[in-house]
Symmetry: C2
Subunit: 556 residues, 2 copies
């Protein structure tokens, strides 16, 4: 088997003009970036968002494990397969972050024969969206310290500046820093830090904005800190929202690329799936719904975090309603959920598989609570045995859900045709009736409780009185109608990353709450969440370079 | 008179494909970025660099003053004028830095009717080159702290890490910072800081590299700090050069845009003109020399810094040889050099003009020392009087140099046709015979003395024994053949920014020396040089936004 980058490079890439033509787009509708990437213009986005017509298919998964699930790979494979069976399908994905490529994580453009190309570009600078987000974020940061330096008319409490700088790099040394040292001409020293760019609220805002004016309004609402009376200070107070919007103008346009089977993909935005909502942009999804009969999209992490936020945040705010949901699982990962060590995964173990299937079952049932029809995609690995596949089929059948073995990783779209037929059928039955988990009016704390109990299977939620008081203050200040954005370990239904399977009766400890007033949600942090990764002992960067043909090697 | 951005927006912009066609480039030769920008591919750059044929014209100027000189504007006007009189001319400019747009500096794409478009894009993210440079710079920084964190096999003296992070933003709070606070998982705390991206050595390297392999070799040579034996540690020691090259692969390709008169412009790279050499990339200049009969380019600041480095660093290293030099002056600026306050510049003052003309005279004579023919461009202002123009003409005539009144700012290329004829004539006479000011073999300290005495008119150079010892060490370590890159105030021939005119007999105090081993020069810092600007009390950012047509307003 070739490596991902070898497969990607060997693909027969069509000019992006041809991909656009498949979507009935003409030259004025997009801005080319090289011959293999394009941005759809604001004009065409605005024209199209009035005309959604496609069926929306969400791809989500069981809790991630080191065994690998392949959610993006399945989204790509399903999109290719839908096109193969004669459906006009568009895939919508998140943009990967640049920094982690130099750590140990592989890229995020699918894998095997289900990939999006040009994978090197998508994994590196792509069309510059994340750089624009970093610039907008850091302009706001510079304007805060500059304001304080020149007299602090807004009376910032410099101990309570909450806005941090960002860089799209894994750089642990920037997590906690002291700035403005060196004397009066450098400003007032204070403690702060950098997050990785995808953790910026600007990223979440870009992904939820309906258009440029909504973008500006959201940026204006960002709370950057508090004054000496503990009143919030916003980006609008600093008059930063206009310049930030100017910096983000191009970045708000969705990016068009293609799968290695030459089917259209919109890749746009990539917010963190813990402290943010973890889905591609609303603009890309809505544009795709006007361009395709079926739109395949994904949400970050497992369904407990990703799908829950996709429904309760993105769909709620954007008025979207999925027609079908695919839950991706692998037999390997379910065996890990059943207690098998990673080194033992190659051996058949139907007992462990049965035991671990409780994880899948919980996710399926959770999605069903939202009123949506589900199909399970078993992302095939060579070590899967007939007996194991039979066990998993039976588990799903017992829930009245179809489980379909998919071989798109090794075979491309051809390996997911059965899944494509099943998905199209589910979506076409028009049985989906999205029911959000809670109403806007439910008090913030009760929203948290509801997610914890009904999605995580928790007995309750705990929090310091200070956290509860903070939620009450926001409730009183008019933020009570916002949805909650849960930041919890992605590895478990509980807050303990080692508790695999389907733990119940646990307590979800809320450590901290944050108001993302621009994005429009309350971040509820359960346990320790890292917003700036570090590099490993031997970073992948050491092996990335150009080969003799000046092609990039070492990206995976 | 319309504002720059209004003029730029009203221009009839041709598709970039048409501009490329003017240069006999076909679709495979370039990568479009939108419909109005493109990058020439590495393949075409490599093909063309074997075939230089055009005449190289350097545009430089008197020392900058608050009155304004208009060097870029004159470069653009001259390029348009050459095309108007039937010459095939290509303009080569530096890319402007993003950050300063939000401070108070205007953009850097010319002005009035001599501008390069799309000016908003050029002044903001453009094709992402500076973001790529920031990423490469900051990957190296992250790899340094990561290496130390994981055991410090290279034995970094953490007090002697010289590599700093960068951001393309005016952010004074980042000048002096402490990183890696917060406990063991965040690394070893140390003092460091951020520079603005254009001050990165990576920028200077990109602008001096001949191709991708030269780029990688230069990146590998970057010295990032010293070990406990005071021996240098390089980017190659950290195995960072390959990944940095991958990040810069696209950025090394020159950008093609157009003037508002639809003539081709290559805009590529923009190193600082104090701690670096201040010219656009070697690759762009060489490519332009294969594409045009005349190439008009510029160097940063006045001729004492910009032209000196253009000759002694860029031309020396790249084997370039200019055919003519234009020295830009304004009557207003020369009156300031003659002692007139900015508020009094509108009044005729031939005495002050005569007195201040010593600044122009020194610059002309300096350029002539390099064996190059000179013409003076008087960039016209509405307040210039006939008597003043006559005085300036006489000053130049006395040196055997033609001075030509130019009205390109208000009239476009038509206003600089006389200049174009003069420049073409000078260049075509083939009288230029570039003589570098010093040989590679001259010891480093003598190179500094030579520049100070022969270009700045200084009596001598002073330095602490530690500086002299450092130079001797580099001399002994094999760096003695590098050119010196002088970092001095741009406002005066001396190190005192208030000493206008043509001061003589002064002492140039060298405060510090730095080895840019990747770029290939020794930076000689005379006085205080700022590598991270701050924002003013009322940043321009407060007035930048989108108008009702979603066009960017507030950029100047």
């Amino acid at each position: 088997m070739k490596s991902d980058i070898e497969i990607a490079r060997a693909a027969h890439k069509l000019p992006i003009t041809k991909i656009a033509a498949k979507l009935d787009l003409v030259a004025d509708d997009y801005l080319p970036y090289g011959h293999d990437k394009a941005k759809l213009t604001h004009a065409v986005v605005n024209r199209l968002k009035q005309a959604p017509r496609g069926k929306l298919v969400l791809v989500t998964s069981i809790n991630p494990t080191p065994a690998g699930e392949g959610k993006t790979t399945t989204s790509v494979g399903l999109g290719d397969a839908l096109n193969r069976i004669g459906k006009k399908a568009v895939i919508c994905l998140r943009e990967p972050s640049l920094g982690p490529n130099f750590g140990m994580k592989g890229g995020a453009a699918g894998g095997g024969y289900s990939q999006v190309i040009p994978m090197e570009d998508i994994n590196l600078h792509f069309t510059g969206d994340f750089h624009a987000i970093s610039s907008a974020n850091n302009l706001l940061a510079a304007m805060i310290d500059n304001h304080i330096h020149w007299g602090n008319d807004l009376r910032f409490d410099t101990r309570r500046v909450t806005w941090r700088r960002v860089v799209d790099m894994n750089d642990r040394a920037l997590r906690d820093i002291t700035v403005a040292l060196g004397g009066p001409s450098n400003g007032y020293p204070r403690e702060t830090g950098f997050d990785i760019s995808v953790a910026s609220e600007v990223m979440a805002i870009l992904c939820l904005a309906e258009d440029l004016s909504d973008l500006k309004a959201r940026l204006a609402r960002i709370i950057v800190g508090y004054n000496l009376d503990k009143q919030p200070i916003t980006a609008a107070d600093l008059k930063a929202d206009g310049a930030m919007t100017a910096l983000l103008k191009d970045a708000l346009q969705p990016n068009l690329v293609q799968t290695i089977e030459n089917n259209p993909v919109l890749i746009h935005g990539g917010p963190f799936a813990n402290i943010a909502h973890g889905c591609n942009s609303v603009i890309a999804t809505k544009t795709a719904l006007a361009l395709g009969d079926y739109v395949v999209t994904e949400a970050g992490f497992g369904a407990d975090l990703g799908a829950e936020k996709f429904f309760n945040i993105k769909c709620r705010k954007a008025g979207l309603s999925p027609d079908a949901v695919v839950v991706v699982a692998t037999i390997r990962a379910l065996k890990m959920n059943g207690g098998v060590a990673k080194s033992e995964l190659a051996a058949e173990n139907t007992q462990a598989l049965k035991k671990g299937s409780v994880n899948l079952i919980r996710h399926i049932q959770n999605v069903q609570k939202f009123g949506l029809p589900v199909v399970v995609a078993i992302n095939h690995f060579v070590t899967d045995t007939e007996s194991e596949i039979a066990v998993l089929n039976e588990v799903c059948e017992n829930l009245g859900v179809q489980a379909i073995l998919c071989r798109h990783w090794s075979e491309g779209g051809a390996g997911a045709e059965e899944l494509a037929h099943a998905v199209a059928k589910l979506a076409d039955q028009n049985e989906a009736q999205l029911q959000l988990l809670y109403d806007d009016q439910l008090p913030l704390w009760e929203k948290v409780q509801k997610v914890a109990r009904e999605i995580y299977g928790a007995a309750d939620v705990s929090a310091d009185p200070a956290v509860l008081k903070q939620l009450e203050q926001w409730q009183a200040a008019g933020f009570g109608d916002l949805p909650v954005c849960m930041a919890k370990t992605q590895y478990s239904f509980s807050a303990d990353p080692t508790a695999l399977g389907a733990p119940s009766g646990h307590i979800i400890p809320v450590r901290e709450v944050k108001l993302s007033a621009g994005a429009g949600f309350i971040v509820v942090i359960c346990g320790s969440i890292m917003t700036m990764p570090g590099l490993p002992r031997v970073p992948a960067a050491e092996h990335i370079s150009l080969n003799e043909n000046n092609e990039i090697q070492g990206l995976s």
